[in-house]
């Protein structure tokens, strides 16, 4: 599939309806202000990267969208409804994979369809399809303990996709992987997003990962956590890390992030 042309066919970000609306959201842990008054609208089928130094509240924001944490102030709406608890409409992929170690790869992916009461054969068919999508055909019967980090993360992505959520939340999903595996999975992630068209929120430390993937990059600042700048890269896919535009954007983001890191150092 030609990613570049199909992406160009998609309407401009600003013209798409809002999927996730974050309104004046703050989060306080004890007397530690983790996030202060975040306002963000994420369009339907957009791919947003949350970028920022450690401790700026990326995971906190993602966990609030997922419904794992409640905002201390403000509210988060998904499809116009306030988020109050985790739900099957918002799939989550964790950095630590979070696979059920007692279930095989196939049974892990079956989990969502099983909860929805699908028949055994339906579950199996769905799971096989999604494992094939992430390139794991032939590894269905392995337990997570026998899979490499990259394979585990593929299973975790398949498990989230098999539930067919409209929102996919990913917290540094490739953070623990080596550089090669990471790039391969980034490309596959784009291909999957291209096919399934979900609204993706993707947390990362890596500037180049953000530029490679996102059509919206939210740069976050620290102390307290906040949104510092929102950049919508207008680069066409597939993006080349050596392109002049790519490098220019990378330099710009690097300055922004570095300023935040220095703020931490001075503190």
């Amino acid at each position: 599939m030609d990613i570049a042309t199909s992406l160009d066919a998609a309407p401009d970000l600003a013209m798409r309806p809002t999927k996730i609306s974050i309104r004046g959201v703050g989060k306080v842990f004890g007397d530690n202000v983790a996030l202060e008054k975040v306002d963000l609208d994420l369009p339907e089928n957009s791919f947003t990267c949350l970028l920022g130094p450690s401790g700026c509240g990326k995971s906190t924001l993602l966990n609030m969208i997922a419904g794992f944490l409640k905002p201390s102030s403000g509210q988060i709406l998904v499809d116009g409804k306030e988020v109050t608890a985790p739900g099957a409409d918002r799939g989550v992929v964790f950095q630590e994979y979070a696979l059920f170690p007692w279930r095989t790869a196939l049974d892990n992916v079956c989990f969502g369809p099983m909860l929805k009461g699908k028949s055994k054969s339906e579950q199996r068919a769905i799971a096989m399809k999604h494992l094939a999508t992430v390139g794991l055909a032939g590894h269905e019967q392995k337990y997570p303990g026998n899979l490499s980090g990259g394979m585990k993360q593929r299973v975790a992505i398949a498990r989230a996709l098999a539930n067919d959520p409209s929102v996919l939340l990913m917290d540094e999903p490739f953070g623990a992987l080596d550089a090669q595996t990471r790039e391969v999975l980034q490309e596959e992630m784009l291909r999957i997003w291209e096919q399934d068209r979900k609204t993706v929120v993707f947390v990362t430390h890596s500037i180049s990962e953000a530029i490679f993937l996102a059509d919206r990059i939210v740069v976050m600042g620290t102390r307290p956590g906040c949104v510092k700048e929102v950049v919508d890269p207008q680069l066409s896919h597939p993006r080349e890390r050596t392109d002049a535009d790519f490098i220019a954007l990378e330099r710009h983001l690097k300055h922004l992030v570095r300023a935040e890191v220095q703020k931490l150092g001075v503190h």
Partner: protein, 263 residues
């Protein structure tokens, strides 16, 4: 299948280790009897004499009767303790108010060695089967209860999050996440509990019984039959060994996913 071949070096090592032990025992026993004469030879019979005592006891039917008496008490007491321990452990682990109520009680009773209650149980339940079964149930309950409780309480919160974002209800969560995650702990608790039942039954039979392996040993003591005392101990060791092998095999089956991690 070459499965058993894999274990061959380990088996050879184990046999070697046992042979050394028996050789040493034989050496001390014979050496004392014929050469160095440190102590009265009646105090340490040879392995062959112990074996002979076993054969004699088997021929008279006493050995089978005593093994069966001990095992049936252990199984009944252990079964009761398993049901109570797992059930209460799960209930206390899933329901906070119950935990606050029960935990201090258990913490207070747990450090008291169960043997301290044995004389009292004999007073309450007499010297029949009931006192022994009640005693085993009491002793085996604690490890089963506490490990089940830990297993239920310390389920990886990330797995809970993963399941809830896949749409799991409270019931789904319990059935498909909490129970399977706690299963290794529960099985460990059962294994500990079984070991302890075996441990305490012998002591109970020392004090108040007219059958069982503890009785066999104690009875031999009153007649100064040292080889029979050692034979009783050896039989307990052998039974304990095979029960443990069986339980481990069962564990390996139920927790296949964990075995595959080690492989």
């Amino acid at each position: 299948m070459s499965g058993w071949k894999k274990h061959l070096p380990g088996l050879a090592g184990a046999l070697f280790s046992i042979a050394i032990f028996l050789g040493f025992w034989l050496f001390i026993s014979y050496g004392n009897r014929f050469w160095f004469k440190w102590f009265n030879p009646i105090l340490l019979p040879t392995p062959m004499e112990v074996l002979q005592a076993g054969v004699n006891s088997y021929r008279s039917g006493d050995l089978q009767r005593d093994i069966w008496a001990s095992l049936s008490r252990v199984f009944q007491g252990f079964a009761l303790a398993s049901v109570a321990g797992v059930f209460l452990g799960v209930a206390v682990g899933t329901w906070k108010p119950l935990e606050r109520l029960v935990e201090p009680m258990v913490e207070m009773l747990r450090p008291i060695p169960p043997l301290a209650f044995l004389p009292m149980m004999v007073l309450w339940f007499g010297i029949g089967e009931l006192s022994k079964i009640a005693f085993i149930t009491y002793a085996a309950f604690f490890p089963i209860f506490t490990t089940t409780l830990e297993g239920i309480k310390y389920v990886d919160p990330l797995l809970i999050r993963a399941a809830s974002s896949l749409g799991a209800s409270r019931m789904d969560m319990f059935r498909h996440v909490v129970l399977p995650a706690a299963l290794p702990a529960i099985i460990t608790g059962l294994r500990l509990g079984f070991g302890l039942s075996f441990f305490v039954i012998v002591a109970a039979e020392f004090i108040a019984a007219d059958s069982g392996l503890g009785y066999l040993i104690n009875d031999a003591r009153t007649f100064f039959l040292v080889s029979q005392m050692l034979m009783g101990a050896a039989v307990i060791g052998i039974i304990g060994f095979f029960v443990n092998v069986g339980l481990r095999a069962l564990e390996g089956r139920l927790l296949r996913w964990r075995v595959s991690v080690r492989a």
